[in-house]
């Protein structure tokens, strides 16, 4: 790992990958708070090798029993621990949806606050690499409809550090959807073990005045490419990363649309009832008077992920499509 470098205000940074930042965040939280444990299958395979060897009694490598090890994590969270449950590939989330929705999300409310469920459900959205329909979902929209959950999709190494740490310290169930498109992406990450990012606050990746572009999770990669091209052409794009999908920072979205009057939303999930739908709905209710042009949603079409790379490459919005959409709303 590279040596730390200090910025002007004296904060130290180290360049590291998204996956390393995630690992570091987990390691620091395990170190800081002995209530933190990690539960999941083949932990070492999915990148948690170091954690397992360092904390053998606090990492629980489970049998293949997603429903119940998730439920066990919830039971442990109810009784004094702060588990991180690793569900590995996001398509396995459906096996755990009963305990996540019927237990974790509901117990505090249903017991009138007697029980808290401070837990993190981690999974990775592992798509775009020909693993076919049963391994390639980006299923966060399925959980957005559920009250009581918090849902995060960090897109940078420092954000995953700051948000994962906040998630572990949060007193409510938090789902963290990693996007494997970022695993190897490197950037500066604060070394501060107290580096925390607030849950529920969007980031404005670039300020702009012509159009608001919201990019969710993995779509941020292509959005950044698109913005580069558009900027070079003299178009001023305001690029927003919601980071927290639930609760959503609608204020940042509405403020931006109030300024630009134009909105393009891009994500890699299936389009029906996705986050882009919710954002479009919110803006068409609460920001209607700001809108100068129809909202544009770019998402995966309503079809399963095919194995063939020729076909899969058609699934996720590309930079050209974003550029075209931005130009459409500017026309």
């Amino acid at each position: 790992m590279a040596a730390a470098v200090n910025d002007k205000s004296g904060n130290a940074y180290v360049r590291m990958s998204y996956l390393d930042a995630l690992q570091q965040a987990q390691m620091e939280e395990l170190e800081r708070d002995e209530r933190v444990i990690i539960i999941g299958e083949d932990l070492a395979v999915y990148g948690d090798g170091k954690v397992v060897s360092r904390y053998p009694t606090r990492t629980w490598s489970t049998p293949i029993s997603e429903t119940s090890f998730t439920g066990m994590g919830i039971g442990a969270a109810m009784t004094g621990l702060r588990p991180i449950v690793c569900l590995s590939i996001a398509s396995f989330m459906y096996l755990a949806s009963d305990p996540i929705i019927n237990q974790a999300a509901k117990l505090r409310y249903m017991t009138g606050g007697q029980i808290g469920v401070p837990i993190v459900f981690r999974c990775c959205m592992f798509y775009g690499v020909s693993n076919a329909a049963q391994h390639s979902d980006r299923p966060y929209p399925v959980f957005l409809n559920v009250p009581g959950l918090k849902i995060l999709c960090p897109t940078t190494p420092s954000d995953i550090k700051g948000l994962l740490k906040s998630a572990v310290r949060d007193d409510d169930p938090v789902m963290l959807f990693e996007d494997t498109k970022f695993w190897t992406v490197k950037d500066e990450v604060p070394t501060d073990p107290e580096y925390l990012l607030p849950i529920g606050k969007a980031a404005i990746r670039q300020a702009g005045s012509d159009v608001t572009l919201i990019a969710i999770a993995g779509a941020m990669r292509v959005a950044l490419e698109a913005v580069k091209v558009l900027t070079a052409e003299g178009i001023s794009v305001e690029l927003i990363d919601p980071r927290t999908l639930k609760p959503l920072d609608t204020e940042t979205v509405l403020t931006s649309v109030a300024k630009t009057g134009r909105l393009v939303i891009v994500e890699n999930a299936h389009r029906v009832c996705s986050l882009a739908a919710e954002i479009a709905a919110i803006v068409s209710e609460q920001g209607f008077e700001y809108l100068k042009r129809p909202i544009q949603r770019l998402a995966a079409p309503d079809v399963h992920v095919p194995f063939s790379p020729v076909l899969e490459s058609l699934m996720y919005p590309r930079a050209e499509a974003i550029i075209a959409s931005v130009k459409t709303v500017l026309r």
């Binding site: 429903t67 039971g75 442990a76 009784t79």
Partner: protein, 334 residues
């Protein structure tokens, strides 16, 4: 280990508290004062109380939709439970949970899952928590015969055994899951025998005999606390009432013979059975009458408390969804 005399008295008191609380609850339900569903444990008090009394105060319980017996068996006071049934703001869960979810955290009830089988992983996780925290708490997990067929039973018992977690799995086998009998739904009719699949001890016990249940549970609790892992106890019991007060199974073909129900009510009621045993053991009729009067009074007091309590305020609707209220960003139309 058998129950001490003090414990025997307490066992009688707690069984009776469950019975009278639920009889009164049924009446309140019929009067329309309790909304929703109402699943009574009447007939099953022996299995519940025998198991609960084998625990220490700091031990934990996860129960089921048939949720009234578990907190009372663990020693909960009745006021907040009755107020919850009546959907009052003084209810144990502030009127958010109701009959299927009577969880009283103060006596160690950490959850009551109305999702059948949903509580088994929670209890196993609570035991994992005790182990990781280095506490010597044990978690008692109640579930019905029907829940045994859920995948969570299988997955959780395997992990509980693998990691030698301090959990006791207690099946209240009342022979039916709503209208489905055990033989219609279990390829292997012995639930205790399923324990072999997870290399844990499996024990069958007469659930109508509170002492026998206590003994089996006590052995299991000691084993669990010693770090030797879980036990599966099948307590054979019977539900006297319908599955749910407002459920009229409405089958021309009744799912259980009237004679069967009558037989159990007449000959296999755990409360008179234990009362007789206590008298034989030398307790006096008057001692028992005192307990009975106390119980009646406690139940009446609970109703009074619930009746006098206010309903929740509409403004409370969103309270306790999250640990801290989520600051509303933008307009949140209802």
């Amino acid at each position: 280990m058998s129950m001490t005399e003090t414990l025997q008295r307490e066992a009688y008191r707690r069984m009776l508290r469950i019975r009278r609380f639920e009889e009164e609850g049924t009446r309140q339900f019929m009067q329309g004062k309790i909304p929703g569903a109402f699943h009574a444990s009447i007939g099953q008090e022996g299995a519940i109380v025998g198991a609960c009394l084998a625990l220490r105060d700091e031990d934990m319980i996860v129960g089921t939709h048939r949720s009234h017996g578990h907190p009372i068996g663990k020693g909960a006071s009745l006021e907040a439970l009755m107020a919850e049934l009546m959907a009052k703001s003084t209810g144990i869960s502030k009127g958010r949970g109701g009959s299927m979810h009577l969880a009283d955290r103060s006596v160690g009830i950490i959850g009551q899952s109305a999702i059948v089988g949903g509580g088994i992983p929670l209890a196993t996780g609570a035991a994992l928590s005790a182990k990781v925290r280095g506490s010597d708490q044990v978690c008692l997990c109640f579930f019905g015969d029907g829940a045994v067929n859920q995948g969570t039973f299988h997955e959780s018992l395997n992990m509980g055994s693998l990691w030698k977690l301090p959990v006791v799995y207690l099946c209240e086998n009342n022979g039916y899951a709503i209208t489905t009998s055990l033989v219609e739904s279990h390829a292997q009719p012995s639930i205790a025998k399923r324990a072999d699949a997870y290399a844990v001890p499996g024990v069958t016990v007469d659930g109508q005999d509170v002492s026998a249940v206590y003994d089996a549970a006590h052995t299991a609790v000691v084993r669990a606390r010693r770090g030797e892992g879980p036990t599966l106890i099948e307590a054979k019991t019977y539900r006297f009432d319908e599955h749910n007060v407002n459920l009229n199974a409405g089958m021309t073909d009744p799912y259980r013979p009237v004679e069967e129900v009558e037989y159990h009510k007449r000959h296999r009621d755990p409360i008179p059975l234990f009362r007789r045993a206590l008298l034989e053991l030398g307790l006096s009729e008057s001692e028992l009458t005192v307990i009975e009067r106390e119980v009646d009074e406690a139940v009446a007091e609970a109703v009074r408390f619930a009746d006098e309590s206010p309903f929740p305020e509409p403004s409370e609707l969103c309270e306790n969804l999250y640990s801290r209220p989520i600051p509303a960003r933008g307009k949140q139309a209802v």
